[in-house]
Symmetry: C2
Subunit: 190 residues, 2 copies
Amino acid sequence: MFATLIKHISKYVTLTPDEQEILTTYFKYEELSKKQYLLSEGEKCTAQYFVVQGCLRMYFIKENGSEHIVQFGIDNWWLSDYMSIEMQSPSKFYIQAVERTQVLKLSITDQQRLLERIPKLEHYFMRVMQKAFGAFQMRICYLFDMSGEEQYNLFVDRFPGFVQRVPQYMLASYLGVTPEFLSKIRGKKR
Amino acid sequence: MFATLIKHISKYVTLTPDEQEILTTYFKYEELSKKQYLLSEGEKCTAQYFVVQGCLRMYFIKENGSEHIVQFGIDNWWLSDYMSIEMQSPSKFYIQAVERTQVLKLSITDQQRLLERIPKLEHYFMRVMQKAFGAFQMRICYLFDMSGEEQYNLFVDRFPGFVQRVPQYMLASYLGVTPEFLSKIRGKKR
DNA sequence: GCAAAATCTTAATCTTGATTAAGAAATGAG
DNA sequence: CTCATTTCTTAATCAAGATTAAGATTTTGC
């Protein structure tokens, strides 16, 4: 299961076989069953997770009690609460497996040690963050420029298989509409 | 004007005087007058900007023709279109000075050269991106959990001086409400 | 100092999508 | 296989904030 990670890293930096070997010792492999939690509100977030296979969701509970999904994490994505990590503050988020999911866990302290051993990985993590940040800048665009209906259509276009993988109400939660409204949108198209 | 940048960097990594000297040769200082542009829609974004003093805004034009502000950049913040940089694609954004602003420009190619000379700066940039990404994760929370009115109040609390610095319609544009509605909110409080 | 441009306010009407409620369909555990 | 839980749909009513329009105020360039 390290093959997936190493392949991903090699898009940004080249690792020798030795370095690949070292790398693996800092990660912890975890196999999550559906609905299992990696992080809950109130806990300090102490690790980043690389999704090898499966699907995670990161969400928070709104004041009115309903939940809202901030991000999904699918194959080859990193997921974590970076505000909690940076500020060493309790997280407002939950990270949960949507389906059976395999992740590689890298704790903050292990990441520090790993980066001391293989400094060029700093570059990898910088690029990963840069890419994720770019995606969020675009997300703000979509949120403000498109109606719920347009956003749903765009999402379906960009991640065709994904729509079947998660329950509809989670998609609604991600897009920021109610499940009822999403249902109406879908009803209209048939 | 490099003092501000070096002080910011030193929060994350320690530079020797030599390294500080090297650093300065890769940046270009620019003094922007109000309304001057650093990036326009359709251009490839080829640099990152560190705000020494002043205020930038990054916005895009919606389909209906109105503009929406994605981010402000004030003292000590980095600002750029990271999607455009990553994908080498034309930007959808404008970056413009809201007031007289001093920036340090670091082009992508100069960044590469700089990081070859001083590799430990990779760590600095990673942390900067991580912090910015964390801020955006929280921003999604606020967008979905709070009414326009609550968001305005929070913003005023967190950046008290800032509200006087930018025109109200820009704040409205950042919060995702119309200037008319923001005016109503403010009217209510007096 | 004055005209033009930029910004802010008020108020009426209209839209999108939320809320509520209830039932239908699908999935899952034992 | 079957009952319980989870998920999805439909429809009525409601609310937040948009839109439109107009006038007031402030700022800026010359």
